[in-house]
């Protein structure tokens, strides 16, 4: 597959000190669903707006289907955007909103109306064509905004936090619907979100951003299982961090010593012996070991807190050296509740070597 979007060393400097996007290179394949993920202010919207043509990059080049579009205005780019608060024209009906961009494409009025009807059916809103945006609910407006953007069959559809204005239940539903829509229309989707769950569930590929740069770029599963940095490890899911140092290598993997005990990790970093490292493991990839049970990595600790959250338990365990880590376990059935660990009780944590991340250096906190 060919790259439909090529970003070549794109930067956006709003001023000397305010850098929106800092030297980002990224290729998006035709038909892909890519998500730009990161906390507020990391430059996601700026990057998306540069692809849409609303901001000009201060450095670098943007190609769309092989053509340099770096300085092409939005109205001459074959790209459409779903705005964060939808930006529907309040003085036009739903049908007029959707048909707005069709006449300029040389469609007749009747044709435009037919296409609007089809687009509305596609987003599951067939009976609202003659209503005004103000008469619609938030979710319905969102669908109209989607319909208006896809009706032009752009090469790329840009979505800026498209679900952020919806309530939780509707958001979950729209996630699935938008994923289906993407499969149905076959247009490349580039979405911006700060919600990691949204990114993981919807996209083929996630680009994690940090301070205007790309922190990591990969399939959701790869980001989850092999985060490249503590930042990514903690932004996607949660991760426990333990400071340690590299002591050697064995056939089982890398050996790391820490105040909490010794660990073996499958991950192999090209670091010299004695190098400072940070260990990471996810709360749901740790087991509280029962009496007599054992694991490749066994770490003793003491339970500090137990929180019940319906689906299971989140246990906070204090390790030797004072580091506190979280351990999540599902409750298999209500009987198991009698076995709920109590604060103060000593426990042993079992962690498999392939579930231990190793990052060079130490992270604060």
């Amino acid at each position: 597959m060919a790259a439909i979007i090529e970003l070549q060393r794109i930067s956006k400097h709003y001023s000397k000190t305010i850098i929106g996007v800092d030297d980002v290179s990224l290729d998006v394949e035709d038909g892909e669903f890519v998500t730009l993920l990161g906390p507020s202010g990391c430059g996601k919207s700026t990057l998306l707006r540069m692809i849409g043509g609303f901001e000009a990059p201060t450095h670098g080049m943007i190609r769309l289907a092989g053509q340099d579009v770096t300085h092409v205005p939005p109205y001459r780019r074959d790209v459409n955007m779903v705005f964060q608060d939808y930006a529907l024209f309040p003085h036009m009906t739903v049908g007029e909103n959707i048909a707005y961009g069709l006449k300029i494409q040389g469609r007749s009025r009747a044709q435009a109306r037919d296409m609007a009807v089809d687009a509305l059916a596609l987003v599951g809103l067939p009976d609202k064509i003659d209503q005004k945006p103000a008469q619609l609910s938030g979710g319905q407006r969102q669908r109209v905004a989607l319909a208006r953007a896809i009706v032009r069959r752009p090469k790329v559809l840009l979505l800026d936090e498209p679900l952020s204005a919806l309530d939780a239940r509707l958001r979950d539903q729209m996630r699935i619907e938008m994923k289906h829509l993407h499969e149905k229309v076959g247009i490349t989707f580039i979405m911006v979100t700060h919600d990691q769950e949204e990114a993981l569930t919807m996209s083929d590929r996630v680009v994690v951003m940090e301070k205007g740069r790309v922190a990591q770029d990969g399939r959701p599963q790869d980001l989850y299982d092999q985060p490249a940095s503590p930042y990514v490890a903690n932004f996607i899911g949660t991760t426990n961090f333990v400071a340690g140092s590299l002591t050697g290598r064995s056939p089982a993997g890398t050996r790391i010593a820490s105040a909490a005990g010794d660990f073996t990790a499958t991950a192999d970093l090209a670091l010299p012996q004695g190098a400072e490292v940070t260990l990471g493991f996810r709360p749901e990839k740790v087991r509280l070991l029962a009496e007599g049970e054992t694991a490749a990595n066994v770490v003793p600790g003491r339970i500090a807190e137990v929180i019940y959250y319906g689906l299971g338990l989140r246990t906070t365990v204090e390790l030797a050296g004072g580091t506190q880590v979280h351990v999540d376990c599902l409750l298999p059935d209500s009987l198991a509740r009698s076995a709920v660990p109590q604060p103060g009780a000593p426990v042993r944590l079992g962690i498999e070597p392939h579930n231990v991340f190793v990052f060079a250096g130490r992270v604060a906190a």
Partner: protein
């Protein structure tokens, strides 16, 4: 029950005083004027009657129709000129001016003259346009004219310029407000959907700012329509406007009945314009709703 009485009393006071104010100072005078408009003139006083002679005079006497026509013409010209100047200015302020400070200052610069005495503002143009005035000195210094021209003052042109200057804030304010209310991303959405800047303006910005245009047009039109200072100061011999005629009828001519009838005609025209613009705004609003 005991606690209730004072509350009713205060409610009565709160609503009653403004109501009384309106009755005494607005409805009553209108009533008097309507009554007068049917009376007969009997120099040097008037006598009560119920006849339509005054209105008939207004509708048949060419002189009054001429004044009415001229007033309409001048008011419309003032409104159009104000719109032509105010809209681009407000548009620039809202959509193009990057500096918040400059925007505030520029806006205040246009609005500030409202705090200056009306009369003073009218006089300013007398000094600009007069034979000894700034415009003449300037043109003479550039060599475009060799002696002062009296062409600028005491004519309808001078009235239009002066009234536009005086009333343009009333055009700028509602248009600025209307434009400011348009979310910036609507223009972006329009561009995104393939429309260039001109089409975006015509299809999005302009329709969404019509309530402001209607309000501004109504205000400047009605204010110019009722003005009598500008004709007095810069209008000259053929510069009589309807309000100055009314003033004459109540003053020198001592024909209160005719003056009253003229006032009523004027009131009806103004009310018609206001309700027309109300309707326009209402459709624009339901359009937006």
């Amino acid at each position: 029950m005991i606690a209730r009485a004072p509350r009713n009393l205060s409610a009565l006071l709160v609503l009653g005083i403004p109501l009384l104010w309106i009755v005494v100072f607005m409805l009553l005078p209108y009533g008097i004027i309507v009554t007068y408009s049917f009376w007969l003139k009997s120099y040097p006083t008037f006598k009560p009657a119920f006849q339509f002679g005054n209105y008939l005079t207004l509708l048949t006497d060419v002189q009054y129709l001429q004044v009415l026509g001229r007033t309409l013409k001048i008011s419309i010209l003032v409104s159009i000129l104000s719109l032509g100047l105010a809209y681009p200015f407000a548009w620039w302020l809202v959509f193009r001016c990057r500096s918040q400070a400059l925007r505030t200052w520029a806006y205040m610069a246009v609005i500030a003259p409202l705090w200056v005495s009306y009369l003073l503002r009218a006089y300013i143009w007398k000094t600009i346009l007069g034979t000894e005035g700034i415009l003449n000195s300037f043109l003479m210094s550039t060599g475009l004219i060799s002696e002062p021209s009296s062409l600028f003052l005491y004519n309808q042109f001078a009235m239009v310029v002066t009234l536009t200057y005086i009333f343009i804030p009333f055009m700028v304010m509602p248009i600025y407000t209307a434009l400011e209310r348009i979310p910036l991303n609507l223009a972006e959405a329009s561009a995104d959907l393939g429309m260039g800047p001109v089409q975006t303006f015509l299809k999005v910005t302009l329709p969404l700012s019509t309530p402001g245009i209607a309000a501004g047009f109504t205000l400047t039109f009605c204010l110019s329509f009722g003005d009598f200072i500008a004709p007095f100061l810069v209008g000259g011999p053929d510069g009589n406007l309807i309000a100055s005629v009314i003033q004459t009828q109540f003053g020198a001519a001592l024909n209160w009945p005719l003056g009253s009838a003229l006032s009523i005609v004027m009131l009806i025209i103004v009310l018609a314009i206001v309700s027309l613009s109300d309707r326009l705004e209402a459709t624009a609003h339901t359009g937006a709703a």
